[in-house]
Structure formats: C-alpha cells, structure tokens
Symmetry: none
Subunit: 257 residues, 2 copies
C-alpha cells in the first residue's frame, strides 16, 4: 500500500506510540483521531469495542485523508488483547483520580515515551469513552496517567484534541532544537554598510538643519543608529533606504527646476 | 456577566494574546476556535470580514460552552483596524513562503509572547481563511510566522487545531519562562503607529515618483514595511522617523524659496 493514496503520509514513519481507544461512541472521533495522529507520524490505531461500530463511514469522512491509519486499524474485544504486545502504557484522563500512579503532563510523558521507543520498547496511549472516560480498572493497567494542564474554569477537550496535543509533544520530543528558519538569499548588511547609511542620512539632515541644536543632534543620531541596528538590515535594504534618503532629499530640488 | 453561564471560564483570566481570524468561511471553525482558546485562558477573539457572517448559530453550537468568548467577539471590516492596538503580531501559515520574517515553532513563539505580555504589551495571533490561508500582504503585517512542525507526508491541521496547539504552548509557557528585561521607559509602537509611518513615507515617495514603476512599488513597499516591523520601533522612534521623512521631503522645498 505504501505510496498510494490509501496510505498517504505513512511512508517511512519511524516507530511511535500506539493509540488505543476504548468504547468510542462517535465514529467522527475515530476519524479526527486518525487525522490528529498522522499529522505527528503516529499510525498504529487500535479500537476496543467501539460503540459506534467498525468499519464506520463517519470515521472515514472525518479523517481528512488519513485513511491509511483507518485501513490499518486493529479491532479488539478485550483491552488486554489490545495492549498485550506493549511494554509501557499511558492512560489519559481529564480528572486524575486517587490512584497510586504518577500523573504527567503530555510533555513529560512524551519525553519518557521517546526514551522508551528509542530503546526499542513498544508504547501505547489509552483513551476512554467520550462521556465517561476510562474506568478505574482500565486506568490501573497503565504505568502512568497523562493529564493536560487547562484553564481551571473551563476544561473541554475531546478525544481527538487530546490525541493532537499528545502527538504534538511526541513529535516535538524527537527534535531537541527548535529550528529558526532564516530566509534564503538574504545577505546581511555589514557594519560598514550600516555606518554608510547613517552617515548619509545624518549629512542630509544636517543640510536642512533638522536637528536644530547640538544637544538634540547628540541624542537623536544615536537613536537613529540604534534603530537601524535593531532592524537587522540586509544589504539590499540598506541600498533601498539610501535611495529613499537620497531621493527624498533631492525630490524638492528636482521640483525646483 | 462574570460568574454566569454566559461567561463561564472567563473569571480572573490573566492578560493573553488575542486571536484574529480573517475571512473565516465556516461558523463551526469560529466555535471550535473559541473552545480551543478558552481551554488555555485566551478570550480575546477578533473577526475580520467572516465569510460565514456574524453572529453565527453554527459557531455557538460548536463552541461547547465557550459562549463567553463568542459574546465578546470584536468584528472588523479591515485587518488594520483589528490589529491597530497590538504591539506584536504573529501570523500562522502552513507554508512559510519566501518572506523576510523569522519562522517560529509554536513553542518558540509562545515563549516570545509570554515575555511580551509580561512586559505589558498587547499581542495577537493571525489566522487566514480555511482554504487559502493568509495573503502575502497580510503576512507582511506580522513580526514573525508561526508554523507547526508536522509529518512531511501528511500535514492537515484546521484553524481550531492550530489555535489549540498555540494556546497550549502559551499556557505551558506560563510556568517555565524567565522574564526578559526590557529597557525601562520605552513604549513600543502599536501596529497603528507603524502603519501611519509607512503611509506617510510612501505618500512622500509617491509625490516624488520615487518608485518609477508599479512593479518596483509593489516590491519596495513591502520591503520598507518589513524593515520597520523588524526594528521593533518605540513610539518615540516612530515620531522621530516621521519628523525625518517630513523634513527631508520639505527641506528641498524650503531651499526653493
């Protein structure tokens, strides 16, 4: 299937956590979960007794082209079967109850999962039914609880949103440095070019007695200099600004003639 | 309204970035955006020419109780009006195009926004229409681009999902970021003040036919705009530069006499 539309986005994906949905009520939520997963390179989706039935046309309609994930779904009658091959299991819940389990943010959980997957372990993340969440005996199967920090006055995440945030943190955990992208082909101005721009502008301003007093000149020239420095100008931008200064200063003169 | 159902979850929210949606096509997406926002304590939603019309019943139906955010929506005809009071603007795009703007992950952007909001600045995040995203001239208004790192083989985030991830990072940043110290007494220019400076300069340049051809004008004006945006100008610096432009343009005229 690799490379076809049916499996779009699944080529060459690295090992990643499985997502296990228990007793899901709405097919849409399975579709949007598949979409959220594939954005972050997750493709192992397992369903335990979905109440909406399976296969499910609403799931496919809501998956926005992540049909490869749905086509590879594993269906289970018992949660124990769905997680039998996993080494580590994380359970998500909106209300961490009194359980003797560590409660982790998605970021802390992703960091642990990354370490485990890098060591060749199989990892899964467990989600309960929409209305009720996971039962206590299901939570007990997990090694740790994942809970998203939210506005205490309004906490309203659905399954796919929780999958999205968890998948995002998983994906982020694979890159240590946030790449800052520099625009290509931009040649930063040298200090000499910046000084040339400032000298040019100040000369034109002196010619029209812009500064009026030596004191004002002594405070305004450094301000202009600092402004140019902060702008991280490119060579081409220095040239443009020199053209602006030259033509603004000359414009009047040209009109004279 | 505080404490009532109409404003559920909005009590005691700390200052946070505004969300600005341009030309949104589907009311549902405004509702799910409000829901995503309120989960992470964002409540300032601004709509610019929503194609779906406003107010919108589908938005309310999709908001899952985040109606307080919808009740406080600000509606604008022009993007410039919607962002005029902001000091810093971030634009989201799936495809960072060739712009002279830094491209940030949501995490890096959240860290910057937190520093800015802690310093008393007003910050906004800009989202374009569902199908087309932001136009280049809209992207040019932003100080930086936010782009979510995704599976290169499958990138499919809708507006509310991008808001969710950005809001999540904003909320997370509240616990980790050390404040960057800003020089005292510097009042950063608003977007409205920057727009005024650019308009003034361009009018003077038009008066002397600086650009010569429409093509050159179309490429040079955005360059000037990007240069001003990058300089993080203070209000006092905008005033100084307006004085420079005015007097340079008039200087020649005065000499005429």
């Amino acid at each position: 299937m690799a490379g076809t539309d049916r499996a779009r986005g699944m080529d060459g994906l690295a090992p990643a956590p499985a997502v296990v949905l228990v007793g899901t009520q709405l097919g849409e939520n399975i579709g949007t979960t598949a979409r959220a997963m594939l954005n972050f390179g997750l493709c192992d989706l397992r369903l335990v007794r979905p109440k909406c039935g399976w296969p499910n046309v609403k799931a496919l309609a809501a998956s926005s082209g992540a049909s490869g994930v749905l086509n590879h779904v594993r269906l289970h009658d018992a949660l124990g079967d769905a997680i039998a091959d996993l080494h580590h299991l994380y359970a998500t819940t909106a209300r961490p109850r009194e359980l003797t389990k560590p409660v982790l943010t998605p970021r802390a959980a992703a960091s642990q999962m990354r370490t485990q997957v890098d060591a060749g372990r199989r990892v899964g993340i467990l989600f309960g039914p929409e209305r009720t969440g996971l039962a206590n005996e299901e939570l007990l199967l997990a090694d740790a609880i994942v809970s998203v920090p939210l506005n205490p006055g309004y906490a309203s995440l659905n399954i796919a949103q929780t999958v999205l945030l968890t998948g995002y943190e998983w994906f982020q955990s694979g890159t240590t440095v946030a790449p800052r992208q520099e625009p290509e082909g931009v040649i930063p101005a040298t200090k000499g070019e910046l000084a040339g721009l400032l000298d040019h502008l100040v000369a034109e301003l002196d010619a029209i007695e812009f500064f009026r007093t030596p004191d004002r000149r002594a405070s305004m020239v450094p301000t202009l200099q600092a402004t140019f420095a902060r702008a991280e100008l490119a060579t081409s931008e220095v040239q443009l600004l020199r053209g602006v200064v030259k033509d603004l200063a000359r414009g009047g003169r040209r009109k004279r003639g």
